[in-house]
Amino acid sequence: QVTVLYFARSAELAGLRSESVSVPQRITSVQLWEEIVKIHPRLAVIQDQVVFAVRQEYVLLGDQLLVLQTGDEVAIIPPISGG
């Protein structure tokens, strides 16, 4: 059970800012994305633009294997525009 956080455009598409999601402890970042898109299909349109932040470290969508613990924060990060 990880806490998924949604920001900016991803929060608008998903319709919420955070929720608990059950995922396997070991999962690649692209598989994790696919699990989240199953719950919120509208997110598919931003697939090419987003990255994750897992425990506040950036992770690109790809084959990188994640080892998740219960309570870990996983944030969906659309292209940033600070400053």
Binding site: F7, A8, R9, Q56, L60, I77, I80, S81, G82
Partner: protein, 155 residues
């Protein structure tokens, strides 16, 4: 003032109230520094011919503060003479012409603080999880910095 109290400090704040240039520059002033360099990002009233009514900022606050802290560490590695660094970013609604970000850096001589300020704003735009929404008269748009570090890497 006791000399030992003047240790290099990072002042990082994300807040929804109006930012004060005076307040932020005061934070970095130091008796043995001859230079304070400043960057102020202000909100523009137009984009591609469209009138911008206001901007709204949101942030992944805890991670944004950590990423700004990392930028401060990098600044101190590249310019060891830098004394204090202040990065203040506004969140929520920012009316036109008001400041959305203020960065101030002090150093004994001007070259380091000028370079460090530029490095801070350029790196902030590439790595810090903050988002800006531009509200136009009849639509809005989530902006994307061209500096965003993963831009074009996943196409």
């Amino acid at each position: 003032m006791d000399e030992s109290e003047d240790v290099p400090k990072d002042f990082i704040k994300l807040k929804s109230e109006n930012l004060s240039v005076h307040e932020v520059s005061e934070l970095v002033i130091s008796p043995n520094c001859g230079a304070v360099s400043l960057f102020i990002g202000t909100t523009r009233n137009n984009f591609e011919g469209k009138k911008v009514i206001r901007l709204e900022y949101e942030a992944y606050t805890s991670m944004a503060e950590m990423e700004i802290k990392k930028i401060c560490r990098e600044v101190r590695q590249k310019w060891p003479s830098v004394k204090h660094i202040a990065v203040y970013h506004r969140l929520g609604v920012v009316p036109i012409t008001e400041a959305s970000v203020i960065i101030a850096v002090s150093s004994p001589h001007r070259a380091e603080s000028l370079e460090a300020v530029m490095y801070c704003i350029n790196t902030l735009k590439a790595f810090v999880p903050i988002w800006k929404k531009e509200i136009y008269e009849d639509e809005y748009s989530w902006k994307e910095n061209k500096e965003c570090f993963w831009a074009n890497s996943e196409k």
